[in-house]
Symmetry: C2
């Protein structure tokens, strides 16, 4: 399945997919990696794996809509069939999601609907939760609000810092995101409204 990944940062989840692809353990071909950040570390990872990369910095466009149209046009031209967000720090518009025509997945470092948006791990620690986790979901036009595919809990420890909690959640993210894509490729995700069932 012709797959693109959108990133803004380090790209550790991107790396998991690059590895799975190059090792042939997942039936995807990573065709392109896009970013809103020209200097995202993730783009370097993609280049090293021989993947075509392109940045769509918001400042280069008159508005967000124009940036999205160019991004979507690029993905369509490449014949993308699956789009994975991996730390992409922009909310896609409803127009983008509707016109895409291919599934868009995202992973988020909390048990949604708790702690959407940025710094989810810090939000969780400041709230004082004892259980957090991560969520793989289909992307809709909202902020981390789309139908949930998989979730897994991660216990918060009293000695946790934002970094230690983020690191423990990230380990689970890598496994969970792969599993969700594997289920999707195997045709095992049944979606009805906002309910996603693994069949």
């Amino acid at each position: 399945m012709r797959t693109a990944v959108l990133v803004s940062g380090r790209g550790s989840n991107l790396q998991v997919f690059l590895d799975a692809w190059t090792q042939g353990t997942l039936a995807i071909e990573i065709v392109a990696v896009g970013s809103d950040q020209e200097n995202a570390q993730a783009l370097e990872r993609a280049r090293q794996a021989g993947v075509s990369v392109r940045a769509f910095p918001l400042g280069a466009y008159p508005n967000r809509r124009a940036q999205e149209r160019e991004l979507l046009g690029w993905l369509k031209d490449l014949g993308i069939e699956l789009l994975l967000l991996a730390g992409y720090m922009r909310v896609l518009s409803g127009e983008f999601v509707r016109e895409a025509g291919f599934p868009i997945l995202n992973i988020h470092p909390s048990l949604l609907p708790a702690f959407p948006g940025t710094q989810a791990q810090r939000q969780a620690l400041e709230y004082g939760v004892k259980v957090s986790g991560c969520t793989v979901h289909f992307v809709d036009e909202g902020l981390d609000s789309g139908p949930i595919i998989l979730q897994e809990a991660v216990l918060v420890r009293s000695e946790d810092t934002e970094e230690s909690l983020a690191a423990r959640i990230l380990e689970v993210e890598h496994r969970l995101y792969l599993e969700a894509v594997r289920l999707l490729l195997a045709g095992k995700l049944k979606r009805s409204g906002r309910i996603v069932t693994v069949i």
Copy 2:
């Protein structure tokens, strides 16, 4: 520790505390059970255990404040040192919480801050989460918003109904609420702002 329990419904969590008290497995004395519902099944459970019960139906008072004042006066007269909410369907005011002077705990059938308020299990199923759970927390004037003492995750199954999910969460509630009270009695809960640490 002289303990009162507030209820509105069936009182299954109340029963757990009544049992622990009568069996001598928890160092509390259940002095009184109050309710905003005159016909709550929980009141019958309390009567059967020989506990003094009293209803404070909102309709019998000019306003909520008057109801709360009478309820608080009753608890103070009884020398209550600990108040447990067990399915009490009213939010206590900030005035009540501040003037109480004793700790007030509540249990809620979701991983707060997700799905506060009524029908948390239905909210969770309708959202489509894969992980829910329950939360024991100190009560503040907000809706299920107080500092979290303990949480435990419960997996949502694809075949779950509101009833089956509620039943599985309830099993955990019974254990978790007891454990939280045990930690409180043992002086093992350290509270700093909204962060509660088990020491």
